[in-house]
């Protein structure tokens, strides 16, 4: 016990001293690889683990797997430094070798890890030999034929070892090698090489179960400069097609516009007449809507202008119906009139239009009528005012061509019109006549009678037209007193203006008997020759009608019923449908169809 303890202490001290001196036992060696080039011999290499500062010797020991006999390496030199070469006699196949290396120096030794080796599986042949590469000129084009020989040590002849080969080719300035497997043959043809370039070739081999050999030294071969025949043909074709493509492109470019038209015909965009897209984009709604408003639509000619003071209807020899709506319109155009749409037109009332004939004075009308004619609007206005005072619905403003106001008037019989208001109020003639029936005058005029209307001169158109027979419907004076200047009317047919449309068309209806009740006369289904329509050419179109003519309201039957006895209206409604003239349709300037023409003329 003491001895062992002393030994330990001494060993420890010795180690310390040795470490201080920088010497130590050798490091552990390591077997790196064992290789057999021909499956007959083999060599093992190791690397030292550090000599520990002292000269170190290495020894390799082995034993076979089925014996315990340990042998030492027979040859340390043949294979070089730190190697062990096993010759044929020492090599046994299909037997595992357990090999270790021992490193030893003055201080100690070190043993490597054992390695199990079976020679059969560590075969790595030598490189192939005599690699040659030649250029072979063929009709298809030149190629390179590479040939070589087996490594000298490999015994393939007896079949002891079977080798397969591999070559790799690289042309100058290429980055990668192209590898080809050659199998067991000892030559190879390399195609698809670029002309006028240098080729580098290398070969290696491998046994059927083993490791690849190293690559041989590079063999150089220079490809000749040639142009492959196939390639030249393709080049020609390519150039030609490119040329054609260029020409086509240029042609297309030149004809670009016509091509566009041909392929993509312009699609007509929606257009609204008078609609300005730019205006819409600008976002000013007022302007947009203003543009939508067609000037002159709806026909906003002053209805007042269409008021005719009197209408001369000539019968017998002097049946000359002259209508001068235009003159009227000129006079009264100045008056302001708010234009409404035509919806209000067509009330049951019938207007009496006084058509002014461009004649000098009236026969028998006397100076009074002249006077009347002078007043024009003013008188009219005054008449209006006077009429308004009367608070009678039957204000004699029937000359006003505004049909729109007519409906307004009737529901408000006591409506007062302000003085100067140009808005005419039309009364339903029949109603008026109804009211005025007790005041029927023997005058030949079918007039709107107003009770309270003073004896005022009715307005006449400024240009007093000659009329053989003054047909002053608004001659209120004549209601109470016989018109001084009103000559007795011969047997004439009186036409009552039903309405005046914006086109200065007088829609007339004749009155058979001025003395009788207008209403009745209206309603009797007598045969009247009525004025169907007054064209713009101052032509009265007469129509013989046998049916009731009472109703003139074709669109507002209800008004008729309220204002007139229903009986005349109803049949008239039907009648209206039947006598709807087709030719009466007039298309006005802006495409507006004047349906007023469709009014039945009685």
């Amino acid at each position: 016990m003491r001895n062992s303890g002393a030994v330990l202490i001494l060993t420890f001290i010795a180690k310390l001293i040795l470490q201080a001196a920088g010497v130590s036992p050798p490091g552990k060696p390591r077997l790196t690889s064992c290789r057999s080039p021909e499956k007959e011999t083999f060599t093992c290499w190791w690397e030292p683990g550090g000599d520990g500062g002292l000269p170190t010797t290495y020894a390799l020991y082995y034993h076979l797997e089925n014996s315990e006999t340990v042998y030492e390496c027979p040859d340390y030199r043949t294979a070089g430094e730190n190697s062990c070469y096993f010759n044929k006699n020492d090599t046994s196949l299909w037997v595992n070798y357990n090999i270790t290396v021992v490193a030893s120096n003055a201080l100690g030794k070190n043993i490597s890890d054992p390695v199990e080796v079976d020679v059969v599986y560590i075969v790595q042949p030598n490189t192939p030999e005599n690699v040659t590469a030649v250029v072979v000129h063929d009709e298809q084009g030149p190629f390179v034929r590479v040939s070589w020989e087996k490594p000298r040590t490999a015994d393939t002849r007896s079949g002891w070892i079977t080798l397969i080969y591999q070559i790799r080719v690289k042309q100058e300035k290429d980055e990668k090698w192209e590898e080809y497997d050659a199998g067991m043959q000892k030559y190879y043809n390399v195609f698809s090489l670029h002309p006028d370039k240098e080729c580098m070739v290398q070969v290696r081999c491998k046994p059927d179960h083993g490791f690849w050999s190293e690559w041989t030294q590079t063999t150089y071969v220079k490809m000749p400069n040639y142009i492959p025949r196939e390639r030249s043909l393709w080049i020609l074709i390519t150039i030609f097609s490119i040329f054609i493509v260029l020409i086509l492109t240029w042609t297309l470019n030149v004809k670009r516009n016509s091509m566009k038209l041909c392929l993509l015909p312009p699609v007509p965009g929606p257009k609204i007449k008078g609609f300005d897209k730019q205006l819409l984009k600008s976002g000013k709604t007022e302007e947009i809507f203003n543009t939508l408003v067609i000037q002159g639509f709806p026909p906003t000619t002053d209805y007042e202008n269409l008021l005719v003071e009197y209408l001369e209807v000539y019968d017998n020899e002097e049946q000359e119906l002259v209508l001068d709506g235009k003159e009227l319109s000129e006079d009264f155009m100045k008056s302001k009139s708010s234009s409404d749409n035509d919806s209000g037109r067509g009330s049951c009332d019938s207007r009496t239009l006084l058509l002014e004939k461009c004649m000098d004075g009236r026969e028998g009308s006397g100076s009074d009528q002249h006077q009347y004619s002078q007043h024009g609007e003013t008188s009219w206005a005054s008449t209006e005012s006077s009429e308004s005072q009367g608070a009678e619905p039957g204000s004699p403003e029937s000359t006003d061509g505004r049909a729109k106001t007519w409906p307004v008037v009737f529901p408000q019989p006591h409506h007062h019109y302000p003085v100067g208001a140009v808005k005419p109020a039309y009364h339903n003639v029949p109603e008026i006549l109804n009211q005025l029936s007790p005041h029927a005058t023997p005058s030949n005029y079918h007039q709107l009678h107003h009770q309270d209307i003073p004896q005022q001169e009715l307005r006449f158109s400024k240009s007093a037209c000659r009329h053989s027979q003054s047909y002053n419907q608004f001659n209120l004076d004549s209601i109470d007193t016989p018109a001084p200047g009103v000559p007795p009317l011969p047997s004439l047919e009186y036409v009552e203006v039903q309405r005046v449309n914006p086109e200065n068309m007088l829609l007339l209806r004749p009155l058979s008997d001025p003395n009788r009740e207008p209403e009745r006369s209206d309603c009797t289904g007598e045969d009247y020759s009525k004025v169907k329509v007054v064209t713009s050419h101052n032509i009265l179109l007469l129509q013989r009608d046998t049916s009731h003519q009472c109703v003139d309201d074709y669109s507002q039957a209800d008004q008729c019923t309220t204002q007139q006895p229903p009986h005349p209206c109803k049949p008239a409604v039907h009648q209206w449908n039947s006598v709807m003239p087709q030719e009466g349709m007039r298309v006005m300037g802006n495409g507006y169809v004047d349906s007023t023409v469709l009014m039945p003329s009685f």
Binding site: K39, E40, E65, N66, K88, T91, S92, L93, W94, V95, N96, N98, P114, E116, D118, V120, K150, D155, T156, R157, S158, G159, W160, T162, M184, Q185, K186, D208, H209
Partner: protein
């Protein structure tokens, strides 16, 4: 000739068997866990293979000196020694190798054995088949069947021995083939 064709055929067959054996053991080693690998390294040196008792050349010179008949006979015995244990062999490897028929390996060995037998008869060429101890029943027939414990180690040993024996037969047959006729494989 017909014999030549059979020889070439036999060489091809044994080459395939050897490749199969190599793949089997590689797959087996790849499937091992690290600790199992450590365990496996400790079994080296390998214990005996069943075919160790069969006297076979272990070097090129020895092989070259052996007659073709001897080589054929040795090959025959080697193949025959694996015919029975190959069933156990199939169980040790994954099914990916032996697809379909699990007895595929056994059948291949049987076929090869028959072929070698034909070659032997052909090389005998009328001479009586003087088998010394080749036809004796193989000792340690249950050699591989006795392994119970430590299946890992025994499986590996089984696979390693199989691969080695196949390589032996391949080598012998190749040499015999090249000696018989200068085949293209030999001259190249």
């Amino acid at each position: 000739s017909e014999n030549q064709r059979l020889f070439t055929n036999a060489v091809i067959r044994v080459q395939r068997l050897h490749q199969l054996a190599a793949k089997m053991i590689n797959d087996f080693e790849d499937s091992l866990l690290p600790e199992e690998r450590r365990q496996l390294s400790k079994i080296f040196p390998l214990s005996f293979c069943n075919s160790d008792y069969i006297e076979a050349p272990t070097g090129k010179d020895e092989t070259q000196k052996s007659s073709m008949l001897k080589l054929l006979r040795i090959s025959f015995r080697l193949i025959e020694s694996w015919e029975y244990p190959s069933q156990t062999l199939s169980g040790t490897v994954s099914n990916s190798l032996i697809v379909g028929n699990p007895n595929q390996l056994t059948e291949k060995l049987a076929d090869l054995k028959m072929g070698i037998n034909v070659l032997i008869k052909g090389s005998l060429d009328g001479q009586p088949n003087i088998d010394d101890n080749d036809s004796l029943p193989l000792p340690f027939e249950d050699f591989y069947l006795t392994m119970g414990e430590n299946n890992l180690r025994e499986s590996f040993r089984l696979l390693a021995c199989f691969k080695k024996d196949m390589h032996k037969v391949e080598t012998y047959l190749r040499v015999a083939n090249c000696r018989r006729s200068l085949d293209s494989n030999c001259t190249l």
